[in-house]
């Protein structure tokens, strides 16, 4: 068994998420090879074959060119699996490689089970076991699902070059919006999710945050709808927080939200759905309507 692991590189840096590929490969067992479109100055300590292309020449985001580079490495290594992180780089590139190889793709793998791959579905409420029927398969692994590992060693570098692309031009990066609230320092965060219903109800959640001496947080739909400023968003595309207490009000517990708050010391979830996935990580799940429960709690806390 052999896996070709595709590392990620952005804004001049090897991304830490790449090390989760090693954690996954360790569970899979067998040989590995690595591919990175990056820079020689930043290679992981890894004692195997490493296919390297220069990001200064190939671009950090040029999926058609990166696809060709990966296909070259696949032709040399003939791996059973080609593994990406399920990220804006991985989910953009993996289907292109899979289509060219006519290989099955399994997206957002969270574990290995009964000869297949475990993936989440239905907004993380359910699971599926998926089995490729092709000899080669492309996988993307869920960020955070496998432990980061530092394999150690010195890579045997093999350089790759490719030309072309199909007329797509990468213009540049735009930095994340400035954060006027620093949630990372807050000891208590009370977050509003879509379950609060409408913008007019957000003050009910903010009042509990105040009564507990904390800050207001929010899930993404609440921010997208303009109910709460982006600077309050918790999750992969917002802030990563680790307060002493996190209270999730009407939040289902999608993986991208959990990624931003699961390190909180104590998690309380208020949700009318007893099966909401947030219940899996909550220390206390209050099964209730937020608009009834939160004011009652605020009144008692304030007393």
């Amino acid at each position: 068994m052999k896996a070709l692991l595709i590392c990620e590189y952005r804004e001049g840096k090897l991304l830490d998420s790449s090390f989760e590929l090693f954690g996954f490969a360790a569970q899979l067992g067998g040989e590995t090879a690595l591919l990175l479109v990056g820079a020689e100055a930043q290679l992981p300590a890894y004692g195997g074959p490493l296919y390297l292309a220069d990001a200064a020449e190939c671009g950090e985001y040029n999926p058609d060119l990166h696809k060709q580079l990966i296909l070259q490495a696949v032709a040399k290594e003939n791996p059973d699996y080609i593994v990406f992180v399920h990220s804006s780089y991985g989910w953009d590139l993996a289907p292109r490689v899979a289509a060219r190889l006519k290989a099955a793709q399994v997206s957002e793998v969270i574990g290995l089970t009964d000869g297949g791959f475990e993936v989440g579905c239905c907004n993380a409420k359910m699971r599926r076991t998926v089995k490729p029927t092709t000899a080669q398969a492309v996988l993307t692994i869920q960020a955070g699902a496998f432990p980061a590992q530092q394999p150690g060693g010195t890579p045997q570098i093999q350089r790759l070059v490719a030309e072309g692309g199909n007329g797509m031009e990468f213009v540049g990066y735009e930095p994340a919006e400035a954060k006027d609230v620093d949630l990372t320092r807050a000891e208590v965060i009370v977050s509003a999710g879509r379950g609060v219903g409408k913008k007019e109800n957000v003050p009910v959640i903010a009042a509990l945050a105040r009564a507990l001496g904390g800050e207001l947080g929010a899930s993404r739909p609440v921010v997208d709808a303009g109910w709460v400023e982006h600077s309050h968003q918790v999750g992969t595309t917002g802030q990563t927080v680790s307060p002493k207490l996190y209270v999730a009000c009407g939040i289902s517990g999608a993986i991208q939200h959990l990624a931003g708050m699961k390190k909180a010391d104590f998690i309380v979830a208020i949700n009318k759905d007893k099966d909401a996935p947030i219940g899996e990580i909550a220390d206390v799940l209050v099964v209730a309507d937020v608009l009834q429960f939160v004011p009652a709690l605020t009144a008692k806390v304030a007393r």
Binding site: R10, E11, Y61, P63, S88, W91, D92, P95, R96, A99, R100, K102, A104, Q105, S107, E108, G116, C122, N123, K125, M126, R127, R128, V130, K131, T133, T134, N166, G167, M168, E169, F170, V171, G172, Y173, E174, V188, L212, G213, R220, G226, H230, T236, T237, L245, S252, F266, V268, K274, D275, E280, I281, A282, V284, L285, V286, V287, A296, L297, V301
Partner: protein
Amino acid sequence: MKILICVKQVPDMESRFKPDNAGVWFSDTDLAFRMNEYDEYAVEQAVQLREQLGDAADLTVLSIGPDRIVEALKKALAMGCDRAVHIQDPAAALKDPWQIAAIIAAFAKDKGFDLIFTGLQSQDRGSAQVGVTVAERLGFACTTTLVGFAFADGVITAKRELEGGVKGVVKLRTPALVTCQLGLNVPRYPTLPNIMKSKKKELVTIPVADLLHEEALAVTARFYPPAKKGGGIVLEGDVGDMAEKLIAILKEKTNVLR
């Protein structure tokens, strides 16, 4: 400019999911269905582009699935699409993303579409594969995860969302396919007059067998709920009692309440 928008109908995610008889997907009974959230952004962006281009744009919305998905197509028509294509397939849920993409590409081939919009992912299966695979099969330029879209002089300027809120700006020429991320725009609610108007719009039905010539590359062996981790306390019942209990727990287990 010919534009295709691919939409999927998915269950309301607040539903309780029960495995079907084969244990490989959810049973449809007792579920309420709606348009995949990501695809609402795709429809809205196409409609906004038509508002920009006027009659020079023609919007076809396509969905693969059983008869109930006509509701999702009707919603897209009421939002402003011109015509709808229902690719009739009672067993669509058992097809893998490769087959779904093959069906869409077979339909789109030779029809001269300049631009295709899809969602980033479906909420029920969430593979984030179909859009990119369609582009690859058609040889279209493609970028994903759009939170910004502009079109001028045949060039699309797309803003892609990356991790941590950083964005990447990309320019691409048509023919192209883009996949839409949450927050790309504010999807409109169909108004009553537009719902009435949409009833006169064309809705074509095509049996899936006419378009599908590919075997699945992956199979679902099992569909099941996650193992309960346990450990967590679940409070149910009277609101006042639960609030008292929660305060007692917070006093015992955390030092944020004294």
